[in-house]
């Protein structure tokens, strides 16, 4: 026990002494949190729209107005030249082109179905899909308005014509603030990555400067060494979570509906697994440069498959299974559920149990892989 304590003391002293470390642990994560939360937005607004109106009617102009009054679209071009409209898609002037065919109004008034054509630049699948969805709802709202205003005039039986009105509510985030969604997830990712990289680099650095050899000829037990390395970085991780949450609250005003104790408790068991990954990386790398490349490689995969940007349940089943050993995936989900929705332990117990198995497993692997002997 004394040995573990002295190792922790030594590690923390070294962190405090290192001038570069203090900003790395305090200012930089906050800056990253702010920058990432603003930059990593998949929020789609201001979709550039080109309208190719070949009907020139009241209805077609009304449709244009309907698009303009929605918050999502910006009119880039209003023309009746199909080629000009198509060109806006090619040179990225517009993201979508709406073609209104001649006879649009006439067909509608006659009670026939009329059709519009919408072309969406879908290279960015998220944006394309959402643009299509928004356009659909704008067009539907025109239809609804028209049927309410004009139907009595056309003398349809109102009983039959009255559409089902749908009211929507968005719970937990009524304004649909994208940052509310991203900040907790990004914070989880930042804490994970920072501690993982620091652990990996720290051990490799000790190997590079030779101090680890000195420790290896002492009677230190492997588990003492590993725990002595692990706990300081665990503290650092918790510390960064705390300042990150504070910044999230102050800057982005993210809701914190659930218990913060639960968040921190989960963070502890999650970090155990994360730090073990960092140690495993350090056993595979000879130089700091290699350690950095290897960590980066795993980080990329962990982040991409964490559900941070794209929902895990829309992945194919095999890929969903691959997210089980990914600590970031669990952390992101827990942060979002507890903070944004106020989920309790019952709701996230599966994540807890998974990590309780995964953490010790990875630690054991790290202790086993760590050699006090060379080569």
């Amino acid at each position: 026990m004394r040995i573990i304590l002295i190792l922790i003391w030594k590690e923390l002293l070294q962190v405090v002494r290192n001038r570069a470390m203090i900003p790395i642990l305090t200012v930089i994560p906050i800056v990253q949190l702010i920058l990432l939360s603003f930059a990593a937005t998949n929020e789609v607004k201001k979709i550039g729209l080109a309208v190719c109106d070949n009907d020139h009617s009241t209805f077609s102009r009304r449709l244009r107005e309907q698009f303009l009054s929605s918050d999502y679209f910006v009119l880039k071009l209003y023309t009746d030249d199909e080629k000009a409209a198509a060109a806006t898609l090619e040179d990225d002037q517009a993201d979508a082109v709406l073609a209104i065919p001649p006879g649009f109004e006439r067909q509608l008034l006659r009670g026939q179905a009329s059709s519009l054509q919408l072309q969406v630049n879908a290279i960015n699948g998220v944006k394309g899909g959402l643009a299509g969805a928004y356009a659909g709802s704008v067009i539907q709202s025109l239809r609804r308005d028209l049927s309410l205003e004009i139907v009595p005039v056309v003398r349809q039986k109102p009983a039959v014509a009255a559409p089902i009105s749908v009211s929507y509510r968005h719970w937990y985030n009524p304004e649909l603030e994208y940052q509310t969604f991203m900040v907790p997830g990004i914070l989880g990712v930042l804490v994970t990555i920072l501690t993982m990289m620091l652990t990996a680099m720290n051990i490799v650095r000790e190997r590079e400067i030779g101090t680890i050899e000195q420790l290896n000829v002492t009677p230190i037990r492997k588990y003492q060494f590993i725990i002595g390395k692990l706990l300081p970085f665990l503290f650092i991780g918790l510390f960064d979570l705390a300042i990150g949450l504070t910044a999230g609250k102050l800057i982005f005003d993210i809701p914190m509906l659930g218990s913060l104790w639960l968040v921190f408790a989960f963070c502890v068991i999650n970090l155990i697994a994360t730090l073990a990954v960092g140690m495993l990386i350090s056993t595979a790398a000879e130089t700091q440069q290699q350690a950095m490349f290897i960590s980066w490689f795993f980080m990329m995969i962990f982040i991409l498959m964490s559900g941070l940007f794209t929902p895990i349940d829309s992945m194919p089943l095999w890929a969903q299974y691959l997210t089980i050993p990914n600590p970031i995936a669990h952390f992101v989900d827990v942060m979002r559920k507890v903070l944004l929705k106020g989920s309790g332990f019952e709701d996230i117990k599966d994540h807890f149990y998974t990590m309780l198995v995964l953490g010790p497993l990875l630690i054991t692997l790290a202790i086993w892989r760590y050699r006090k002997t060379i080569a």
Binding site: L36, A39, A40, T41, E43, V44, K46, L89, E90, D91, L108, G111, A113, S115, L118, Q119, N121, A122, I123, N124, G125, G128, G129, L130, A133, Y134, G136, I139, Q140, R143, L146, I150, A161, A162, I164, V166, Y168, R169, H170, L176, E177, Y178, F181, A285, E286, Q289, F293, I294, F297, M300, I301, L304, T310, M315, P316, L322, R336, K337, K341, D347
Partner: protein
Amino acid sequence: MKTLWAFVLKEIYHILRDRRTLFILFGMPAAQVLIFGFAVTNEFKGASFAIYDQSNDPVSIALGRHMSGSGHFKQTVVAHRTEDIHQAFQSGKIKMALVIPPDFGDRYRSGNRPEVQVIADGSDPNTATTLVNYASMMIAQFKAQRVNQPFHIEVATRMVYNPELKSVFMFVPGVITLVLMLISALMTSLTLAKEKETGTMELLLVSPLHPMMIIVGKVLPYVLLSLINAVLIIAMGVYIFDVPIKGSLIALLGLNTLFIITALSLGILISTRTQTQQSAMLISLLSLMMPSMLLSGFVFPIESMPWLLQMISTVIPAKYFIISLKAIMLKGVGLIVVWREVSVLAILTFVFLLASWKNFKLRLE
């Protein structure tokens, strides 16, 4: 020329010897493309939802069945109280709930504005928007199927350039950009910094070769490595995921070469400014890799960002490269259409080259 060749060979040996780094240089982009291609999709299918049917009437039951029968939604929870919906949201069992009020059936039949409420989990805004939109379309459809409604507008939506909304279409150009940056800028700045750190740079500089030749000799293998990697990524996209190359292959390779030169000049510039590998690595990561990933439009649309970040993005070469790359590969337009982006990229490259040339000379004197 012979000496130059010797330099190139020496550098190639260095690269080939570090197996781990080499593995990561080729493995990482490949893994990324595979993940994006196979695992990361935005389409949603079978989103779980709850029905809270207070009406319990043939029409409301039919509406519920209509929703689950579409394949877009999967009813997993039957709610009996509002609290049930809360719980289902909190445990993540559902993403949406349909609430049908008690008088729905009566109102529907009497034509007295029947109402339903759709509640979405707003904590994930994009999914919420998409789900709400699907749901309201389907509810409208439900009505339309039973009664012939006036003002029926069909929307034929065509997703151009990427009909299946595959995320790999967007990520192939992005991954190419990152890899070119990684190898041509980060690796070059590292290898030059290493020579400085170990003092071998001095050794090279006293050789009869012109200093610029030395740099050329050092970076040439990385150019090769970058090109091979870029071609590999494009080939993976084309042969595994059917990413098309609609434009001219020559324009594509030319564009890649231009960007490699951009990245190299940045790498050299960084190395003239740093003394150690560690600082070269840090500067490269912070000033090149991060912006190229975040502010280039690779993953996140630039136009949704705050004004300040949009301003910063105008000096990020990767932004212009990605726009041109997408245009040529996916839209099949010629260089003419993206002449603005290409010229900005060329000008930026020229500026960086000039700066690194100047810095390099200063250091020699």
